[in-house]
């Protein structure tokens, strides 16, 4: 049995017990803490037992003046014994007064008071010094206008002339950014801070702390240049800066810009760390999670280019399967992405393809001249800001179309850029929790996490096939055989079906409609509907034959009976070969129908190979049918 230790993606857990439920961070070191291991410095009545944040106008803050410590940073700054000091001072005064009446007793009281003042004064001095020395950054609670993480994946997509399609990631990065707006409460805190701590540095050089950000879920990411105290705190970002960076705080009058911005960069690893998988060390070289697949729309005369955009989505990394089957791409769900949005699709197409007559898909669309390519001058077609329909968990698809006035040159190469934006982080980041400068969870919205995937593409269209659906039908002279003096009958229909089968037209359905009254009394109109397929190799062309007519008068030979046969043949052609085969099938259909009708008119039904005549069929038993040579395609 092999036993190894593996490293997995970082995950914010309690630094002590590993619990996932983080309710606080240590305001000194930023370690994430659960409710059990986070130490709130309060007494039984809920008041702060340490002087770190007292007197800083923080009474109205959600967590008041009570800081949170981890076990490693725990300390208490007790309140200086001002009352005792005053009491001993009072004792000195009272001793002096008592000295006039009772000199020895008064002297004792004065001496006791002096000793007490000396001892307590020393204690007060020590504690005040300790408080001043452990002065935290100015604890501010600005309003966060923005807390967001934006991850970017950049790469290229290529389709070669032989149809080989590939994509490659060139960079994976992430950035957490905040935009904070300071207000009057923060100025009050600053004033109280200056009064309490009397810092020796100028006001502008003071540091402030606006709280901490905690990156949630297991991440396949590494923060760039973090100076955090421990690995466990690596997912906690202290939101701190210099008072001088915020003019509103730095000036005495409170004028100037109130906003302050900060960001932290990180590197996204290639794979999301899961149960057993360590995160890959490099994001280079793997495939983009989006694809752009071009095709030519059938029946468009080669004038409509279709672009399929596909992407992979998922809900939670925990739901991922383990071990993908070979040959099948990883089950979409690896990405942690949802709610897709097309930010931009820009494609350069040759002017030779003519005006762009229409664009499908909605969103903001634009067409502008572009630089020249190998097919001469180009124009750029752009879609922007288009919401995409999601198919839930799994790969989804969006389809955009460009209609050109001229035919699309299949030797062309189209280039452009595709950018999609998703909710959620491709690193696995799902949310950002905000903590106040004292370490308590702050009641503000969780930060937004987005991923932008951007790829330039270069697609050769040589491989694309253009399919054309053709219908050869109608009641024109060529496709309708009308024979006078011949009333339609089931014998004729069966004979027609047999001869057609011999010509590879497999008539699969024969339906007789109820007869109707004809054009004259005693005459009836009949209609048979024959449908099936022409099959030759892999060519499948649906065929439809309608046999109609009138008969049943005084005599079918009176010249007023007639039979009409109309034919329809449909097919999809993609090249000259298939066009030729469709044309040949159509000719064969017409010839077969015409010949069968002629034979029937003569009254001498033809005996095609592999079929029986109607009369012989009637007289034969079914077992004789077994002996007919079969023709199969």
């Amino acid at each position: 049995m092999n036993v190894t230790t593996i490293m997995r993606g970082a995950e914010a857990r309690c630094s002590y017990c590993g619990a996932q439920s983080i309710v606080a961070v240590c305001h000194h070191c930023g370690r994430p803490l659960c409710a059990r291991d986070g130490i709130s410095e309060t007494d039984d009545s809920g008041r702060a037992t340490t002087e770190e944040f007292t007197g800083l106008e923080l009474h109205d803050a959600r967590n008041g003046e009570v800081p949170v410590h981890c076990k490693g940073c725990r300390h208490i700054l007790p309140k200086p014994p001002w009352v005792m000091l005053a009491a001993f001072g009072t004792a000195i005064v009272l001793g002096r007064l008592l000295q006039q009446e009772m000199p020895s007793a008064g002297l004792s009281v004065v001496l006791l008071g002096a000793v007490g003042v000396a001892v307590l004064g020393r204690m007060v001095w020590v504690r005040l010094r300790a408080i001043a020395e452990s002065a935290p950054p100015v604890p501010t609670t600005p309003r966060f206008a923005t807390i967001e993480a934006t991850e970017r994946v950049e790469g290229t997509m290529t389709m070669e002339a032989d149809g080989r399609w590939s994509s490659r990631v060139s960079a994976r990065t992430g950035r957490v950014s905040v935009r904070a707006s300071f207000g009057e409460p923060d100025r009050r805190v600053l004033k109280a801070y200056l009064k309490k701590f009397r810092p020796s540095v100028p006001q502008g050089e003071l540091r402030f702390c606006a709280g901490f950000l905690l990156l949630r879920e297991r991440l396949a990411a590494e923060l760039v240049s973090t100076d955090e105290a421990s690995e466990g705190a690596a997912l906690v970002l202290p939101v701190s800066g210099s008072v001088g960076d915020v003019p509103y705080l730095a000036t005495h009058e409170g004028h100037g810009d109130r906003t302050w911005r900060a960001h932290w960069d990180y590197r996204v690893l290639a794979a999301l760390a899961r149960g057993t998988d360590p995160p890959e060390e490099s994001g280079q070289g793997s495939s983009l999670p989006i694809r752009l697949i071009p095709s030519l729309v059938p029946n468009s005369d080669g004038r409509v280019l279709e672009l399929d955009i596909t992407w992979a989505e998922s809900s939670k990394a925990d739901a991922l399967p383990k071990g993908q089957p070979e040959g099948i791409e990883a089950r979409p769900g690896d990405t942690g992405l949802c709610r897709p949005h097309l930010e931009e699709l820009a494609i350069d197409v040759p002017l030779l393809w003519g005006e762009v007559e229409s664009l499908s898909g909605g969103g903001l669309q634009g067409i502008a001249p572009s630089s020249s390519g190998h097919l001469g001058p180009m124009r750029r077609v752009v879609w922007r800001n288009l919401a995409l329909q999601s198919a839930g968990t799994g790969r989804s698809i969006a389809r955009l179309q460009l209609h050109f006035r001229n035919r699309i040159d299949p030797s062309a190469e189209v280039k452009g850029m595709l950018a999609l934006e998703f909710s959620g982080g491709i690193s696995g980041l799902t949310a950002i929790d905000v903590f106040d400068p004292l370490g308590g969870l702050r009641a503000v919205d969780q930060g937004e996490v987005r991923t932008r995937i951007e790829g330039t593409f270069s697609l050769r269209l040589d491989i694309l096939r253009h399919r054309e659906h053709r219908v050869a039908s109608g009641r024109g002279a060529e496709d309708v055989s009308r024979v006078a003096g011949l009333a339609p009958s089931h014998e004729l229909v069966l004979q027609l079906a047999r001869t057609l089968r011999c010509a590879s037209f497999h008539i699969q359905r024969i339906e007789e409609e109820p007869p109707r009254v004809g054009s004259e009394a005693g005459r009836t109109k009949s209609l048979w509907d024959l449908s099936g397929q022409y099959r030759s190799g892999l060519d499948v062309f649906p065929v439809h034959v309608l046999v109609s007519g009138e008969g049943g008068g005084p005599s079918d030979r009176d010249g007023r009976s007639f039979t009409e046969v109309s034919t329809t043949l449909r097919g999809t052609v993609s090249d000259d070969g298939s066009k030729l085969r469709l044309d040949q099938a159509l000719s064969s259909l017409r010839e077969t129908v015409a010949e069968t009708i002629r034979e029937a008119q003569k009254g001498t039904p033809r005996h095609p190979r592999g079929a029986t005549t109607a009369s012989s069929q009637r007289s034969s038993t079914a077992s004789s049918a077994d002996l007919e040579p079969g023709q199969q395609n």
């Binding site: 049995m1 036993v3 593996i6 791409e329 007789e512 029986t612 079914a622 199969q632």
Partner: protein
């Protein structure tokens, strides 16, 4: 002096045994199913070093248990702690015995994880949360030459798919004749292109009776498609039409495959003695129907290739079973996850499938002036017999808005294949009034009970197309003659 054994109570985040079998399904003139390489088995376990959730934080309070932190002291992880035991049973079908660490009791393996130190974790040390101990054991199940998976692949058209469903309906024990008549009267929807129909049967011996949720399922299907555009109209059809329809596949341009991960449960139970044996899982999948409207794209290809994977949770094909005990010796109720994966590489001969495909034919006759009664039904049955068919069964329903309905199920063997012919007669009654005026102004009025019959013939036969056509044509012609005469002499 020997070092005392260190025991740690630990909870694995993952502990599973997976056996993977690969087969090549070559369906062509000489169809074959052959194993690809050696089947593999793998035990995988992950023990995270996360104190309260996975490793007992207060283990020191329990006699004989110590704390684990996951911080290793040297690359060889000098200290190993016992976190449990695996007890294997029925391993004869594998080489597991040779792979297990020699122990006093054969068939047991002690789970030991590294990086355990004999002291409490350093306060505030959270780096352990990213660490986990991974336990792996590879073994080889005996190669099973008979694939537990059987594949039925057919190329059909929609008409034939419908006809197959009709035939299956007539084979069901409770037949709703009116429903069947309605189905027979419908034309199939959709384009007239071809369909590739895949149906899987799984027969797994030595299967452990797992939880109710342990249903084998088709995990993924992929087909190589050489052209762009790829056919966007591939879809799934459940036989009873209750399942998801129109679920689209996706095209992977990198591998040029059309892919789908359906998670399609194989919940169709097979009847019969084989299936009812204890310890045998026998399941059918619903039909996976893939529309090949653009089959011409495959011109020049002799074969359609692809891959599918079936997962059988809760059972191992080798018959191996395993139980998990923790460090204190108590059995862990939620034992290791067992799974058998069967990967099938498909190679479907297009020519063979096209030639051997099942054909169907439908003839619909309108018999004017014919009342549907027992004599007319007997006429149809006689015609069937005259044409060499055996009437298996017939059903009659006199209710319904459409009037009386009679369904006759006929069958005969043609070239060793059963030819099914189903006749559906839907009778419509109406009365006509005949008034005869005589000289002198007198007239006689006679009311005639008459009717019409819609007769539909559905024929189905695999392979020999012309035989099917000839038989159905013969029945059609005879019925026309018989009922033409009947109508004339009504």
């Amino acid at each position: 002096m020997t070092t005392p054994e260190l025991y740690v109570r630990a909870c694995p985040e993952q502990l599973e045994l997976v056996e993977t079998y690969r087969y090549r399904f070559d369906i062509a003139n000489a169809s074959s199913i052959s194993p690809i390489g050696q089947a593999t088995g793998k035990l995988q376990g992950v023990f995270p070093y996360q104190a309260s959730e996975w490793l007992l934080q207060d283990a020191s309070r329990e006699p004989g248990l110590r704390i684990a932190t996951g911080r290793s002291r040297d690359p060889d992880f000098g200290d190993l702690a016992t976190v449990g035991h695996l007890v294997f049973a029925d391993w004869e079908g594998t080489n597991l015995e040779a792979r297990l660490t020699p122990a006093r009791v054969s068939g047991t393996e002690t789970l030991r994880i590294p990086g355990v130190v004999r002291r409490a974790p350093r306060e505030g040390d959270s780096s352990a949360h990213r660490r986990a101990a991974a336990v792996e054991l590879d073994y080889l199940p005996e190669a099973a030459h008979a694939s537990p998976l059987q594949l039925k692949a057919e190329i059909l058209d929609r008409e034939t798919l419908e006809a197959q469903e009709v035939v299956e309906l007539t084979r069901s024990s409770e037949l709703d004749v009116q429903k069947l008549a309605t189905k027979l009267a419908q034309r199939p929807e959709g384009s007239p292109g071809l369909l590739l129909v895949l149906r899987l049967q799984l027969t797994l011996e030595h299967a452990r009776v797992g939880a109710a949720a342990d249903v084998p399922f088709v995990r993924c299907v992929s087909l190589h498609w050489p052209t762009i555009p790829w056919p966007g109209s591939l879809f799934l059809v459940n036989f009873d039409r209750s399942g998801p329809r129109g679920r689209t596949f996706q095209y992977n341009p990198e591998s040029r495959t059309v892919e789908w991960t359906p998670q399609l449960p194989m919940d169709g139970r097979t009847e019969g003695a084989e299936a009812s044996r204890q310890g045998v899982i026998s399941r059918w999948s619903t039909r996976i129907v893939i529309s090949l409207d653009e089959v011409a794209d495959l011109a020049g290809e002799t074969h359609l290739t692809g891959r599918l994977e079936v997962n059988v949770p809760g059972s191992l094909a080798s018959g191996l079973d395993v139980r998990h005990y923790d460090a204190t010796g108590a059995q862990v109720r939620r034992g290791p996850q067992l799974e058998t994966r069967i990967v099938a590489d498909l190679r479907l001969g297009l020519e063979h499938l096209l030639r051997r495909r099942t054909r169907s034919i439908v003839h619909r006759l309108f018999l004017e002036g014919v009342r549907l009664d027992d004599r007319r039904v007997a006429d149809v049955c006689s015609t069937f017999v005259d044409c060499g068919l055996t009437v298996r069964k017939r059903w009659r329903s006199d209710g319904g808005e459409g009037g009386a309905v009679v369904v006759i199920d006929g069958e005969r063997l043609m070239d060793g294949e059963p030819l099914h012919l189903i006749a559906c007669l839907q009778g419509h009654r109406h009365s006509a009034v005949r008034t005869t005026e005589l000289a002198g102004g007198r007239s006689y009025r006679t009311t005639l009970e008459t009717g019409d019959v819609d007769l539909t013939l559905h024929g189905l036969l695999r392979g020999a197309r012309d035989s099917l056509c000839n038989v159905v044509d013969a029945v059609h012609g005879r019925l026309r003659d018989v009922f033409g005469a009947t109508a004339d002499h009504r």
